[in-house]
Amino acid sequence: MADVKQVTLTIEGRPVVVPEGTSILEAAKTAGILIPHYCYHPGLPVAGVCRMCLVEVEKFPKLAPACATAVGEGQVVHVHSPKALEARKGVLEFLLINHPLDCPICDQAGECELQDYTFQEGRADSRYLEPKRFNPVEDFGGDVLYVTNRCILCTRCVRFMDKVAQEPVLNVSERGDRATIGIHPEADLGGHAWSGNVIDLCPVGALVSKDFLNKARAWELDRTASVCPNCTQGCNSILETRDDTVVRMRPRANEAVNQYFLCDQGRLDYRWLERRDRAELPYVRAQTARGGTELAATDWDVALREAAALLNGRRARVLASPMLSNEALGLLARVVARTGGTGVFTVRTGDEAPLVGVPDLALRADRAANVIGAELLGFERREIGAVLDGLGADDVLVVADEELAGLAPTLPAGVRVLVVGTTVPTWAAGADVVLPITNMAEEEGTFTNLRGRVQRFLQAKAAHGLARPSWYVLGDLLAAMGDGEGYFTAADAFAALAAAQPSFAGLSYDALGLRGLPVADAERFAAEPALAGAA
């Protein structure tokens, strides 16, 4: 790649140097110039149909579509020349004449490219005196609703299903102004694990999410960079909250992991972040007036002291959730080491569902974010039925945010239980101490994906009750056990991990940024090379 020829051109008076073959539209981006566009999307094949990206190139006889025109040496491109502006104004007018302009009830409003570009360079008035075209709303299946009247026929959705999902079930039906997006009569977008991406790809409110329908206006949302926790792929995501409630999860571009996409399972499985049956306060077991015991709320100092006392002289058997961050798992590994105990975890699995058009992208069979992190930090993976095997009556079972869904294990008599979690599972209700932690939306941390890539997620909303971030609680617990002094920031907790664990050596929050970096020994996790020619 190093010997790709570089081309120098001028865009809006700014010199730009890009590799040969780059489109004018992408070249302009590198100079900070956004050329308005609809049909173009970097994750899809170029169509060149909407004609919104027309720019003036000196010496060209006609305006050129910036998305479909390669840069040329010495080219001089004018994006905002009167001719180019006039042409784009014309396109916007054409797109709007039959558009319902039902922005007040449209979920796209506020994040709509039709609104944005019209505001930027469209006409202020309409010259259209004819009745508007009408077509009813259609249910495409899955999470997808097609609001035909709002469609600008950019064909992004069609190209996604054709070339990326490689299940060509969408099409352009009819021609002329009767054209609409059609779906194969026997198809249902629910049949494809990645079809929800057409909603994000749609530049207007024509493809909308049933799940998000009428939930919030785009401008009411707070957006936080995150990582999808629903499988080991670690797709980069954006958590969108309204009033501290997660209402939507959408993809965040990362060329190395998920390009521009998120699977339906990932995007729709966020409600657990809003569970109401949370552990809200620290608890310790206390005598009741009637002679029994109960979990009684207490303050953090007492709870941490009691937890440390519980672990004193006993081996910790840590049952960790593979949804915990590297930071939390690293600290739990220290608890294991200090007490001569063991750490185990189990993973919920499902069918793998690749997105065929993107290399090494799939909804993975392991449905948890940090399986690799847990393995790297010395936790032993077990089948769910065997996860508590060998638990001794003298051990302390540390239930680290793992509910063992679908299993109601009977714990050996006499075993002591410390819950460090977002909830207290019913089977662990006899716990001695409960340390409430925040869930991933409420704290900061990192996950390690199946290729050994360490990726940060940021805090999207406030903590629940008196719960504290997992790394904070575990740092304090270790401090109470005489190990260190705890951590004030997630970055500090990660720095300690990087210092202690060879896999994480050299990494830091600053270095990870929002795109992540591979662990030191990531080659171990490389994808198997495609079996070219084999079979």
């Binding site: 170029v46 004609r51 014309g90 005196l129 021609r175």
Partner: protein, 450 residues
Amino acid sequence: MGYPHPSHPRETPVLSKHFGEPEARTLKGWRDRGGYVALEKALKMDPAEIQTIVKDSGLRGRGGAGFPTGVKWSFMKPDGKQHYLCCNADESEPGTFKDREIMRWTPHALVEGVALGAYAIYASVAYIYIRGEFTEPLEQVRAAVKEAYAAGVIGENALGTGKTVHVHVHQGAGAYICGEETALMNSLEGRRGNPRIKPPFPAVAGLFGQPTTINNVETLAATPHILNNGAEWYKQFGRPDNPKSVGTKLFSVCGNVARPGNYEVPLGFNFGEFLWDLCGGAGEGREIKAVIPGGSSVPFLTAEECRTAVMDYEGFVAAGSMLGSGGVIVFDDRQDMVRQIARLCRFYAHESCAQCSQCREGTAWTTKILERIAAGDGVAQDFDTLLSIADNMTGKTICVLSDSCATPVVSGLKKFRHEFEAKLKASPNVVSFAGTATAAAAPRAAGPTV
């Protein structure tokens, strides 16, 4: 010849010489008329040599754009890749029906031209893409191809020369846009007939991604004559002072004309003589008002402009129109030009492939405005809007269908504006429009009253 009328003495029938002779449709009949001599000669030549002869002859594409055929062929080099020839027999441009007659009466002329063209561009496979509604031409061409295969004229060992030329006939499904060259290729591949963005051009990546040449029926049918008689012979047809437009050309004449039909004349012919002498003018008691000389996509000429126009590529441009496909549509003094233009635009609106925003929306919007004006419901700003839409639809889309729809609007508003204005005056809206405009303008003009 002006089939179904007898040939006019001033015609030069080369391609149309055997129109109306049923025997010419058979292989034997065609051979009796000198058929397949050129193909045999060609198959024994080096393809590059054929390219040179056709280049020297000055033949230009008869499909509408007038691109020099020999130059187009010379883009095809012996590069070892699979090449294809596409014969564009989709003829759907309103007012154009010359290819239809070639296929109906002399199908072997087309098969010969196609085989010759394929060989000349190093293609072992050629496709003839025939307009879906052309059922009789389809039958004739299919029969001719079958006969030619059976007689070994085409196939693995064409005419015993050891050269391979396969010819396949494909019936379109009824879409004007499939006559656009790259839409035709998509359609042949089994895709939706949408024009492709260029580059890549067909000579680089055309049908099935392979180097491809596409030519019109009339273009290909002319090539055997050039090979038989030489480039110099072909060049004699034309104005001596314009070597850029040579050869004979079929013109399909329809509309309000005394003798409609196909006429073959040398390029450079006088359009006035053509219309009034050969075609007989508008007919008893009628006057020609307007003529579209080259298929529905080119600008109107007034009767006055027709009288002096020269029938070749440059001549029609000088007169303010284009030669296009040679489809001559005549409108007499009874015609309502607003309605006629609305009708043309409705065609384009119906046929737009819907890819480009300007074309999909602009063709339909234009049509609605025109139909509203025609119905007596026009408003004063409609003219400005129409011209502005036309401007936004021109030169900005993937293919020129969009431009084609704008053309009659712009030229109609220029040359027949009085007819548009007459409609407007009859419209009650104009009164009320003007009324509301002044009424509404008054308080605004006064400005804020704070």
